[in-house]
Amino acid sequence: MDRDLIERARSGDQQAFADLVHQVSDTLYGVARRILRDPGLAEDVLQNALVTIWRKLPQLREVDRFEGWAFRILVTACYADAPRNRTWAATIRVLPLDRPDAADDFQSISDRDELERAFRTLPLDQRAVFVLHHHVGLPLVAVAEALGIPDGTARSRLHYATHALRNAFEAARAQQLQREGRLA
């Protein structure tokens, strides 16, 4: 992260903030989209978070902590907007290129749908920990710091989220085995 840019934005330089927005918006949008599972809502949340970041930037004491601080504002904005979350947003989904055959791709769709459904049942605080750890790649200690929660809380939230996803994944695989058994 460009320290000079953050410092200039902190001192009220709107152009510097615009440059900063272009540097961080994709990352923040990606996190919001994954937590909320709705690109439209994630866009709204991102806007609110970026305006809040602008307003509160002078209160950021240590420029080196900008990223974690920004994540916390973003996640707080996710929490605030979640009650307005829509029930389902059908979006274009992605399949990996390196699948060996088509049957695997259909299995992949099924797995993902189960994961998606399971993830949507998770509380937002568990989703946030899961996304910051697995998508952003923050160590759990850094996730805890970013979210302002104890390390142990971050660890248990991650545990519950992973457990729910694993159950969903196993259920999808079991269904697939049943289908294959019927076809055989």
């Binding site: 994954r34 439209g40 307003r55 307005r84 059908a90 993902r112 459904r117």
Partner: protein, 430 residues
């Protein structure tokens, strides 16, 4: 099942989709911060020290004396002629907002929707060229291909003239029977901005309407009117920078009083005005000509879709990697025709027909009944409806494989095929 399998599947699922921030979101933020002050920590004590009454009175008297003395001192010129009459100080209250004089308004008629409204002189308009699809967002995430769904009528917002007034967005779309004003409002304005700061029942050209006012929606002051008329639902939306709410409320009300619907919504074309368009995001860029009744549903870097009517008839173009129907081949719900050679845009192509059984199972286990996957470079998934018939055409454009998927309900009796042929004949890749 191994941990590795699980981790890989979770990773693939989690990394799904594009993280590119919609440019409209960034524009809105950068506009909002222009008038959003930063919060700086000031050394303000948390509470004032209790002061005896006599000291309060003494302090007040001192402040008053200093203020009067200062005023006298400032009003007395040190040299030269006597001072002119005093000017307004910064603390003088702003005059109450008033309506614009009638002479400052000019009539505007929407080319797409046919309504009329009076607007301040000098405002520019970017005209809509198609209608909205149901609860499609009024702004943000709008499809492109150069066919906006809303008339965007601009005063000074978004980098024009900061001193001028804001922006009006006006759009409408056909709605299903049973839609109520409450459900329309809840499904659109409330989804975008949440609970309004104030909520009022008003009338627009004699129709019951709802005015939802937001002190801040994405950092902007917003007045959002929702109204139903003639089987259509409408948005009339005023956006402006915070800070001019007093004037905005008065002027918006003044403009709304001049709004008149077209005679009949039934005559409003739903699709883009017929014409020639070039994709702005999808590459390789495609130029094509459409007639009335079509609309652009989606444009991404690797896929765009055109709809005729409600979307059961569609033409999708996607970048692909290899055999575009390889995912359909093992699925017994698909009946696949024999490929044959054809041409599109003067380029050699292959075409095959696909019929997806009306009883196709729920193969994704989720929301889509039947799915046909076009593996593009972003691996876009084109969802195909059970009971539909498709033509899949694939060709090479400057080394990039491109698939065109044309879908219609099986047994369809419209002239969709002829219209598609006209679009295909008009296509050129740039």
């Amino acid at each position: 099942m191994s941990d590795r399998q699980f981790e890989r599947t979770v990773h693939d699922w989690l990394e799904d989709g594009s993280d590119r921030t919609p440019p409209t979101a960034i524009d809105a933020v950068l506009f909002a911060i222009r008038s959003t002050p930063q919060e700086r920590d000031l050394p303000i004590p948390r509470r004032f020290i209790q002061m005896p009454n006599y000291l309060r009175y003494a302090a007040a008297a001192i402040v008053l004396l200093v203020a009067v003395g200062g005023a006298i001192s400032l009003g007395r010129p040190s040299v030269g002629p006597p001072a002119a009459s005093p000017t307004l100080s910064a603390t003088t209250p702003a005059p109450p907002a008033t309506q614009l004089p009638a002479s400052a308004l000019v009539p505007f008629t929407s080319a797409q929707y046919g309504y009329t409204i009076s607007l301040p002189k000098g405002w520019g308009a970017q005209a809509a060229t198609r209608a909205l699809h149901g609860t499609e967002p009024l702004f943000g995430n709008d499809p492109q291909v150069g066919t906006p769904a809303g008339d965007s009528i601009m005063g000074g917002l978004f980098g024009q003239d900061a001193a001028a007034l804001g922006r009006l967005l006006i759009a409408g779309g056909a709605i299903p029977a049973g839609t109520t004003l409450e459900s329309w409002t809840a499904d659109t304005a409330l989804v975008k901005c949440g609970a309004p700061t104030t909520h009022a029942a008003i009338t627009i050209d004699g129709e019951a309407a709802t005015l939802s006012t937001y002190a801040s929606c994405a950092g902007l002051f917003m007045q959002w009117v929702t109204v139903l008329h003639g089987g259509w639902a409408w948005h009339i939306d005023w956006i402006n920078n915070p800070g001019s709410e007093g004037t905005d409320v008065v002027v918006f009300k003044q403009l709304l009083a001049t709004f008149r619907f077209a005679g009949s919504s039934a005559t409003i074309p739903r699709g883009p005005l017929s014409g020639t368009y070039t994709t702005t995001t999808f590459t390789p860029a495609v130029t094509f000509t459409v007639g009335a009744g079509w609309s652009n549903k989606l444009e991404l870097a690797d896929e765009f879709r055109l709809w005729m009517g409600d979307g059961a008839h569609q033409l999708a173009v996607a970048r692909v990697d290899g055999d575009p129907i390889r995912f359909a081949r093992p699925n017994p719900d698909f009946t696949i025709g024999t490929p044959f050679a054809t041409t599109v845009a003067g380029l050699p192509a292959q075409e095959v027909s696909l019929v997806l059984s009306p009883t196709a199972g729920n193969i994704s286990g989720g929301f889509a009944l039947g799915a046909f996957v076009v593996p593009g470079d972003r691996n876009a998934l084109v969802v195909q409806h059970a009971g539909s018939t498709s033509r899949v055409i694939w060709l090479q454009v400057a080394g990039q494989e491109v698939a065109i998927v044309i879908e219609r309900p099986t047994g369809d009796t419209t002239d969709f095929d002829q219209q598609v042929q006209a679009i295909l004949a008009s296509m050129s890749f740039n």
